[in-house]
Amino acid sequence: MEEATAATSGNVAVTETHAPVETSHHGPAAHHHGPPTSFIRKYIFSVDHKVIGIQYLLLAIFSAFVGMLMSVLMRVKLTWPNSSITILETIFPQGAPGGQMTPEFYLSLVTMHGTIMVFYVLTTAPQGGFGNYFLPIQIGAEDMAFPVLNMLSFWVTFVGLVVIIAAVFFEGNQALGTSALGMWLGGGGSGTVGPIGGWTGYPPLSALGKIAGPGQGAGMSLWIASIAIFCVASLLGALNFITTMLNMRTRGMSLMRMPLTCWSWFTTAILALLSFPVLLAAGVLLLLDRHAGTSFFIPGGLVVSDQLLPNKGGSPILWQHLFWFFGHPEVYIAILPGMGLTSHVLSTFARKPIFGYRAMVFAMFAIGLLGFFVWGHHMFISGMDPRTGMAFSVLTLSIGVPSAIKTFNWIGTLWGGKIHFTVPMLFAIGFVSLFVAGGITGLVLGQTTLDLAMHDSYFVLAHFHLVMGVAAIFGMFAGVYFWFPKMFGRMMNDTLGYIHFWPTFIGVYCIFVPMHAMGIVGMPRRYSSFEEYVFLARTEPLVLLVTIAALVTAATQFVFLFNFFWSLFKGRKAGDNPWNATTLEWTVSSPPPFDNFGGVVPVVYRGAYEFSVPGAAEDYTMQTEPDAESAAAVTHGELAQGEQGSSGNGHDGHH
């Protein structure tokens, strides 16, 4: 199914591809590669970064809707515990007898919602999707540095997604779970629901195997396998991003002339490169504990289901250290591309240069760097030397400084600008708003004393959903609306865009602001029912409000889905540069030709955000537009080659 959709849109993306001009200067020995002609090489196992980017995007959209459906089911269970959804019984006869979700079913939803959203949406779309598509074009390269690895990275991700979906069915379906494969995978599934362990998969629960209860059999093994597969895919991607950005920038594209999006993808790639191997190592240790009888994470003397386990001396805390050493940078992997894109979009539609370009770059790196030294703040309650806790706390709070630099620069960019409230602009402004709203509670939770009380409450839930969940998603929406015309040659429908934005924006606040209050009252996260907790009875109206808001918000997303696919075929035709933007992707046709620049090397003369330049005829100046100095130099014949190379309209200037 995924393949089918990938194929359709790939089709749209590349229909206007014209073969690059045959060039003479290569000499006969040069290997000239044209676009592939067979369907499979073109749309499925394509090495073209643009097709791969769209494949990633579709994978993320599919995963996002699956994850969203799960969150809706969770809200239904919390609000109307006795509601019956017949289709659930058909799929999971024991997990949802009579269509009513059992507590195990709820926990499984928690696990799968978190895992799918964090890995297959927040990590794939902003980086694998937009980054793949636009990094090479924005720096003037014809493709990624290692196109074949790029293709592999997508398909390995795809396998990971298939495995994690298989995890649900091997664990939750009696027939599959007891099949030979299911038995080999971990003693068979429990036959009730999917894996249970949260997206953090804490041992000892996750390390013990089937003996530990429902959700711990074959499905848990597949869950870990899926994460490990995803790690490999991310590393392949990161390798490509870093090499491409360092090595393939076009003539004149100095580092400080790059769009901030490129900087954000670069920082993200570094974070992924240094954090995913740690998760991979942890995953291997966990699998060994489950299947080879080792005791890395399983403590001694553990009695499970009336059985004394033979393991000795392992430490569950070790997993927490390894996991969160990855887990915290992962948060920035999700949000940094959104920051880059927000800067890009704000500058474009405020018709002003970005405020404090260099500060933005350095703040991004500072956030990335600090992100590696704060993992302990996820573990304040696990038991920690107070001095260590203090160090983690101070480092955590200090992330507020670069974050504030970015926020003030965004406001500075908007200040006094001639703002066009287009749909991508609204989502970018929404990103800033959500980032501030969600980030500010990070300063609350970063303090050890407060965190001890708030830990694992709805307050935490509200905090990270706003800042890394919804804000990052808003960044993606801004990206889709902004780049859709470039990717598919057609505009998305504006009216539907506004209908999508406003309920979503108001809706997410209605969902997550009340959750802060619930957390302060003491509502713990991951509980499937609060009926027996008298002190929480007074939150009932809030719970209902949150659920209604969640249902409305979720329904609104189908407007986006419709808009996306409708616009592919019926959208208004877009020109090369519908937004009057300045960066390189807007110098080529929409969609761009196979090798991005039609065989011509673009030459860059200026920074990425030259809007409303005094004395210029238009309120935007393309990066390829030569400045007075270069023009003078050319008249003296110094930059002759540059002159011809700079023309973005297809003729080949080389000799």
Binding site: A29, P578, E610
Partner: protein, 241 residues
């Protein structure tokens, strides 16, 4: 509502933008520098590059990036190892299996022979290059076999993966290193296969030669790294504590 102000800029301007970028600059199009956003190094970036030009940096940068990831993985396992070894009640060390000294010698020598191969290629001595490649390849395989035999030595003593934390880490770390070394062996085989293939090409093809050299250099970084990694793991497993 603010949103209604939106003008879709798109419809009005798509025509004119088509003609704006990049053209017309010989005469009228020259514009002043705007807003100080010129990069500090005006001519930085990709340099004067033809599309078909090969950039030898690519393999080297890519290889270091790969190794950064490998390094992080082993750093994570090291920290787990140190952390676990502190919980002394269940920790039982065992002695170095004697064959490990042989493995260590083999992999150290293979680094030297690979360096010989690389230098031979630099001097365009393709016969010597091929020979030294084969020698390194065989030494690499020898290392793997020797590791396997060392495992058998331990199994004969009744030391298995799950016996105690030290043996768990021992098998895990040696297996992961062997896995990476197998990838290296594939890399060497690939280079060797290319030497057979390259005869067909024009020897004077300078770009082809540079590309081959870049491949061999990148492979060299990997091979030496695996060598160093082994020495490090050996020290961690048997000399530390």
């Amino acid at each position: 509502m603010v949103t209604m102000v939106i003008t879709s800029i798109s419809s009005s301007t798509s025509e004119q933008t088509k003609s704006t970028p990049g053209i017309g600059w010989g005469g009228t199009g020259a514009r002043p520098n705007g807003n100080g956003s010129r990069g500090p190094k005006g001519n930085g970036g990709g340099g004067d590059r033809n599309r078909s030009d090969f950039s030898p940096q690519q393999y080297r940068i890519g290889m270091w990036v790969v190794l950064a990831a490998v390094m992080m993985m082993f750093a994570a396992l090291t920290s787990a190892y140190v952390f676990r070894a502190d919980r002394t009640q269940s920790w039982q060390s065992f002695d170095v299996p004697s064959l490990m000294w042989v493995s260590t010698a083999l992999i150290l020598i293979s680094s030297v022979t690979y360096e010989m191969a690389r230098r031979a290629l630099k001097k365009a001595q393709s016969a010597a290059y091929r020979t030294w490649l084969i020698v390194s390849l065989l030494l690499g395989l020898g290392f793997l076999v020797s590791q396997l035999l060392a495992w058998q030595q331990l199994v004969a003593q009744g030391i298995y993966l799950a016996t105690n934390p030290h043996s768990s880490f021992f098998y895990l770390l040696t297996a992961l290193h062997a896995l990476h070394l197998i990838l290296g062996v594939f890399g060497l085989s690939y280079l060797w296969l290319r030497t057979l293939q390259r005869v067909r090409h024009d020897r004077a093809d300078r770009q082809g030669a540079a590309k081959e050299q870049a491949r061999a250099d990148a492979m060299g970084i990997y091979w030496h790294f695996m060598d160093g990694l082994w020495v490090y793991l050996f020290a961690l497993l048997f000399l530390w504590r």
